[in-house]
């Protein structure tokens, strides 16, 4: 204080002296101007020595913490009253000067015991942060639904030639319809137009053509401008050849065509057709021979599918029937060519066959599961399966008459089909429909493969540099050896299921990664942080809304407090003013003297 008063005093004296000199000047040119400039000069001089500061204040409710998260627009940021904080370091650029950074929310809350009420703005806090806020009252002010794909789903692991489907919803905020394109392999695979200003669902398809891993892209286009671009990883599962066993009472066309088709597609095949009493014609295709004159349980153990016609099923001995029943109970698939209603045999009598007087040709069969139409057949079909609550339709005509249906039987499945002339597809050159039909039937029935080891990532979409949790199940209870990159990962055994394990890591790179469990490789894809942003934002939004809904904490009404901030004005401004003022005084004098 003493120094300040001293400086002001000196300055006053100096100012008085200068004004005196100005007034006493002979020509008195620009007198008022010069006096004003002198005052400014002296003031600047004083502020150069004594710092000038001003204060601002912020109204804040007591016990309230304003947390800004991703997704808050500049407009809404300005409307938020009180001191603002943020915890996400990535927001630093956007929120610098506007909000304060809290490196760790938990620490901050321990230090500031008075905080009871947390106002969250934007898309919300991550799940692990939310977990720490269970005892606080959280008011969530969600941002608007993000633009782009806000939900999306597909199967990552597919069989070869399988149709890949990606479904989801897109939030289009533009005033224009946009195109959503599924691209890959340098070409567009499928596309759809999405209407303007609407949340609309999409469904895109593509038949898998590669063998191995591939990255497809989902691109939203507005004319030629790319709006969003998302990655879709897909990988194919190695084909495991199914072992098929066929039994017929006589070698029908259907039987011969199916045999040839399976043989040429390299399926291990064992077929037997009856010639006479206890005499059979036997083929072993793509496999080693064995004795199959009588069917025993041991023989069927390794087979995946047994295809048999109804007559043969009735012809075989009771012991053989029992063997088949047993095998189906243990998981083998059974496909029956049914051709006569009112069968007594145990495996087929649950399928109620009816004869319908349908004169027209079989034109509109379709695969129910995939809503896939099959080409028409040149002959008519009269035998159908009546719907039953225990059975599921596989193939039906458009009039909902079932041609093929499946039924659970123990661990296995029984499929019955009344179609006896599917080979006519082959004859009329519609191999694709024939393949679809039989693939569908065999897939429905076939024994399911034991994977040996299953691996799942805890997150549906693992993100780089986030904790990635693997859930591993092995066949036995030995500790699995898990290798990720060059490191071995430690595993944690599940307390209840001893063959279930957990391992965790933090993937450092995005892209395809491999984890090997007991020397078996599993591929998974790690997304970059920029991938699926809108979707993650939307998920976060939902998560926060849910959290707030579930954790309603009541807090007493809070009072307002005022925080005062002190800002200092930079001395450079005064220095510049000072130099200009001095310069003016000197220059004015010189110019006048010359003039």
């Amino acid at each position: 204080m003493g120094f300040g008063t001293f400086v002001i005093g000196i300055c006053m004296v100096l100012l008085a002296f200068l004004i005196y000199k100005e007034i006493k000047r002979t020509h008195r040119h620009w007198l008022t101007g010069r006096i004003v400039v002198s005052i400014v000069m002296i003031a600047c001089f004083a502020f150069l020595i004594l710092p000038l500061s001003f204060e601002t204040s912020l109204q804040n409710k007591k016990g309230q913490l304003n947390l800004i998260t991703d997704g808050v627009s500049a407009d809404s940021l300005a409307k938020i009253k009180g001191i603002k904080y943020y915890t996400d370091p990535l927001l630093a650029d956007q929120l610098k000067q506007k909000a304060d950074f809290i490196p760790d929310l938990a620490y901050y809350l321990i230090e500031h015991k008075d905080v009871q009420n947390i106002e969250v703005y934007g898309y919300g806090l991550a799940a692990d942060e939310l977990k720490k806020l269970k005892n606080y009252k959280i008011t969530f002010h969600p941002s608007a639904m993000p633009y782009g794909i806000i939900s999306c789903n597909w199967t990552e692991k597919l069989h070869e030639e399988e149709t890949f489907t990606v479904q989801g919803s897109f939030h289009n905020t533009l005033n224009k319809a946009i195109q959503l394109k599924l691209t890959g392999f340098g070409t567009a695979l499928d596309s759809v137009m999405l209407p303007a200003q609407k949340l609309s669902n999409f469904n895109l398809n593509h038949q898998i053509r590669q063998k191995g891993k591939a990255l497809l892209e989902l691109i939203a286009l507005n004319g030629k401008d790319t709006l969003t671009k998302e990655i879709i990883p897909v990988q194919t599962i190695t084909r495991v050849p199914l072992r098929v066993f066929m039994l017929t009472s006589f070698p029908s066309f259907e039987y011969n065509f199916l045999k040839k088709w399976l043989y040429e597609n390299q399926y291990p095949l064992m077929v037997r057709s009856r010639i006479s009493k206890d005499k059979y014609s036997v083929d072993f295709l793509n496999r080693n021979s064995s004795t199959i004159n009588s069917i025993q349980a041991g023989l069927l153990e390794k087979e995946d599918v047994l295809i048999i016609d109804q007559q043969e099923l009735e012809n075989i001995s009771p012991a053989e029937k029992r063997a088949i029943e047993q095998a189906v109970t243990k998981g083998m698939g059974l496909i029956i060519w049914a051709d006569q209603p009112g069968a007594n045999t145990a495996l087929i009598n649950s399928f109620k066959l009816t004869t319908l007087q349908v004169q027209d040709k079989l034109t509109n069969l379709f695969v129910l599961d995939r809503e896939m139409a099959l080409a028409s057949l040149p002959s008519n079909q009269q035998l159908y399966i009546s719907p039953s609550s225990r059975q599921q339709a596989v193939i039906a005509s458009k009039e909902q008459h079932l041609v093929a249906a499946e039924e659970l039987y123990g661990n296995g499945k029984i499929v019955a089909t009344t179609l006896q002339n599917s080979y006519q597809w082959m004859l009329s050159g519609q191999q694709r429909d024939y393949a679809r039909y039989w693939s569908e039937l065999i897939n429905a029935a076939a024994r399911k493969q034991e994977p040996g080891i299953t691996l799942q990532t805890h997150d549906y979409r693992p993100v780089v540099q986030h904790r990635l949790l693997f859930q591993i199940e092995t066949a036995d209870t030995n500790v699995p050896l898990i290798q990720y990159g060059e490191k071995h990962l430690a595993v944690k055994q599940n307390l209840l299921f001893p063959n279930s394990w957990e391992a965790q890591t933090w993937p450092l790179n995005s892209g395809w990664q491999t984890l090997s469990v007991n020397q078996r490789d599993f591929n998974f894809f790690v997304y970059g942080k920029a991938n699926w942003k809108a979707l993650r934002q939307y998920e976060l939004l939902e998560q926060n809304l849910n959290f707030v809904r579930q954790h309603q904490v009541e807090v007493a009404n809070t009072q307002e407090t005022t925080t005062v901030y002190r800002h200092e004005v930079s001395k450079w401004w005064f220095f510049i003013c000072f130099v200009f003022a001095i310069g003016f005084l000197w220059l004015e004098d010189r110019v006048f003297n010359r003039g």
């Binding site: 030639e161 590669q210 597609n265 295709l285």
Partner: protein, 695 residues
């Protein structure tokens, strides 16, 4: 660096400003003032900002302060990587992705801006006061670079100049042309000559077509710089040059094919039937077109006469009486009199147009037939005397009407006009009666109660017509017969037992009968005759349709004894057994599928390994085959694939082009049965499941 620059700029600016002002005021330039002020300013600045103290630690502290995303860990980056602990390593990997940081200098950029402003102000004042010429000189007009035309083709550097002369085959009539472009688009069979001059002598010069045919070139000049080669091109594909072992880019060969003459017959219809009374002639009208010119066209007509086993064929060539002169498109008309060809009733004529273009390619139209109805055949009773016939008398009646009409016409000269008219009218009445009888089949209104509607329908029996009729059935009574099957109490037309097709034909018969009746009633029996014939022909067709033919059998088999079935001795019979292994010889599709996935994996710029190269080569074979047949669609892919094999780092563009080509080569596949996988079965769960089944 930035700090030093800032110090220099600030000091220099201040020095220039103050120095110039001082000199201006002083009058004479004293240059040491600049240096003095500069040094003073620099010293003052450096005492505030000791830039020699800036080191790595200072920077990492500064960065940590400014960028929260570094999580106070930037100092870890200064450590040697092998000194880092596991956690430190993870943290480094986490923050490394934020590097390089954006806008590191944003906070100090304003300070630099101030310093620069000083510098500019100082320099400005200095220049103003020293009367330095204005900035005009520095504003040089940027000369527009001449538009450089990007050449589409890449030519080997050894090639100094080249030109290609193309001589199209004579049939095209196109003039020979020259081009200085390796990509070719030529007519089939065109002869192409390449004249290439190299800028230095070349030891060996080859031309490789479709990646397999290799031709060695001989120099035309003395010093092995001028080369020429010519070849007749017949198929699409691509080629490249090889000079001293250096291969050029691939150049496309597109072939403009010459299609054979396109023939379109506008008239008559593919099948024409000429009825009695109609003129036995046809007017043929055809449209012919070709790419380059038609040289010849004629009608090839085959007459088939006779029936059964004595059918004889006579072929005849009928020329159009026009000269073609290589016209590109022509409309041809030909009037053919069938009688001149020797056609009799019952004969058939098959004809087609054959044409030849100026390349000598022949083409022909579909075969058209014309048949003249044989009245004698219609009149024969052959079809009626055997087999079951429900309505024989009606057919006979129509036949009778025709016979009577012909008889009337023959006697026309010898009888009086009155008599003629009367008989004609009587025939008309007969025709009407016949028509009405047929009309009943269609449920037409009956005018004269012929046949009559049956009203013995018992209301009580409802729809049950299985009830026995007590009345004895009259033999040959069609009405009674029909009543057994027909049900007439709703729409009469639907009550008949005819199929819609037969009904339509019956209607046609009735139409013809109508016309015949009209002519007979107007005393023009000669005009009625064609209609009568047509009616008879249609009736005959109907009759054939409804007939089922069963051949007589002479063999009688013994009755089967069910108890003896399958009781034969089968010991000697061995069961046939077959063991086969299917060998898939063509693995190309599998390889292409693997290659497709491989290309996708390398989109991140990873170079191809030796194994990958092998796969690329097998893919190249497939693309070469595809390129040879479709150069326009696959040549870019082949070029890209070669670039991929040659270059170390794959370019995304090439990968996309090749992927696209391979994707198309694979095509859509058929689905095959594949086993689904299930979850791991735990013993406990299985146990539970097995117990569950009991309930």
């Amino acid at each position: 660096m930035i700090e030093l620059f800032r110090a220099l700029a600030l000091s220099l600016g201040i020095a220039l400003l103050i120095g110039s002002l001082f000199n201006y005021w002083h009058g004479e330039p004293i240059y040491w003032v600049y240096y003095l002020v500069f040094i003073l300013a620099a010293i003052v600045f450096l005492s505030f900002h000791p830039i020699w103290k800036i080191d790595e630690k200072y920077i990492s502290r500064y960065l940590d302060n400014q960028f929260p995303q570094l999580e106070d860990s930037s100092a870890l980056l200064l450590k040697e990587p092998n000194e880092l602990g596991l956690l430190e390593g993870l943290q480094v990997a986490k923050i490394v992705q934020h590097l390089p940081l954006q806008q590191v200098f944003k906070p100090i950029s304003s300070k630099i801006f101030i310093a620069l402003a000083w510098l500019i102000a100082g320099a400005g004042v200095f220049m103003l006061l020293e009367h330095v010429p204005s900035l005009r000189s520095s504003s040089l007009k940027a000369e527009q670079a001449p538009k450089h035309k990007v050449s589409v083709e890449k030519v080997l550097p050894q090639v100094a100049s080249y030109h290609l002369s193309i001589v199209p085959p004579t049939y095209t009539g196109n003039a020979p042309r020259e081009q200085t472009q390796f990509t070719l688009k030529v007519e089939t069979g065109a002869k192409v000559s390449w004249n290439i001059r190299t800028n230095k002598p070349v030891q060996s010069f080859y031309m490789i077509f479709n990646g397999e045919e290799k031709f060695k070139l001989n120099p035309t000049g003395a010093n092995a710089t001028e080369w020429s080669f010519s070849k007749q091109l017949d198929k699409q594909g691509f080629y490249q040059l090889e000079l001293d072992g250096v291969k050029s880019d691939l150049y496309q060969i597109d072939i403009i094919p010459d299609f054979p003459v396109n023939i379109k017959i506008l008239q008559p219809k593919p099948q024409t039937v000429i009825d009695v009374g109609m003129p036995t002639q046809i007017d043929l009208k055809a449209l012919l077109s070709d790419d380059y010119g038609i040289t010849e066209a004629f009608i090839s007509a085959t007459r088939a006469s006779g029936k059964g086993e004595s059918v004889s064929f006579t072929e005849k060539k009928i020329n159009f009486n026009v000269s073609f002169k290589g016209a590109k498109s022509l409309t041809l008309n030909k009037h053919i009199d069938l009688k001149n060809l020797g056609m009799k009733p019952g004969d058939e004529l098959y004809f087609f147009i054959q044409a030849k273009d100026n390349k000598g390619q022949q083409s022909r139209s579909d075969v058209y037939t014309v048949s003249i109805v044989d009245t004698a055949e219609l009149m024969s009773m052959a079809g009626m005397t055997s087999g079951v016939n429900l309505v024989p008398e009606y057919f006979r009646s129509q036949r009778q009407i025709i016979l009577d009409t012909e008889k009337l016409l023959a006697e026309k000269a010898s009888i009086a006009v009155e008599e003629f008219k009367k008989r004609s009218n009587t025939l008309g009445i007969d025709q009407k009666l016949l028509r009405l009888k047929y009309g009943q089949f269609l449920g037409e209104e009956n005018e004269t109660e012929i046949g009559g509607d049956h009203d013995d329908h018992n209301d009580n029996d409802g729809h049950d017509h299985g009830k026995q009729d007590t009345q004895p059935e009259k033999f040959g009574d069609v009405q009674a017969l029909m009543d057994k099957y027909a049900h007439k109490h709703d729409i009469a037309e639907d009550a008949t037992f005819f199929e819609p097709e037969i009904k339509a034909q019956l209607k046609a018969v009735l139409n013809e009968m109508w016309s015949a009746e009209l002519k007979l009633r107007t005393y023009a029996p000669e005009d009625a005759l064609p209609f009568e014939y047509k009616a008879l022909r249609l009736l005959k067709d109907l009759q054939q349709k409804s007939r089922v033919y069963v051949a007589k059998t002479t063999v009688k088999t013994a009755a089967i004894k069910p108890e003896k079935r399958l009781t034969g001795e089968l010991k000697e019979i061995t069961a046939p057994q077959q063991n086969l292994h299917y060998e898939l010889k063509d693995h190309t599709k599998e390889e292409l599928k693997l290659l497709l996935a491989l290309l996708d994996l390398h989109k991140n710029g990873k170079p191809f390994s030796a194994n990958d190269q092998a796969l690329l080569q097998s893919g190249e074979k497939q693309i070469i085959i595809a390129t040879a047949s479709h150069p326009a669609s696959y040549l870019p892919a082949l070029k890209s694939l070669r670039r991929l094999s040659a270059q170390k780092l794959p370019a995304l563009n090439d990968l996309n082009t090749v992927s696209n080509a391979i994707y198309n080569l694979i095509g859509t596949g058929t689905s095959l049965p594949q086993a689904q996988t299930k979850g791991l079965s735990k013993k406990l769960a299985e146990h539970y499941f097995n117990h569950l089944k009991g309930y």
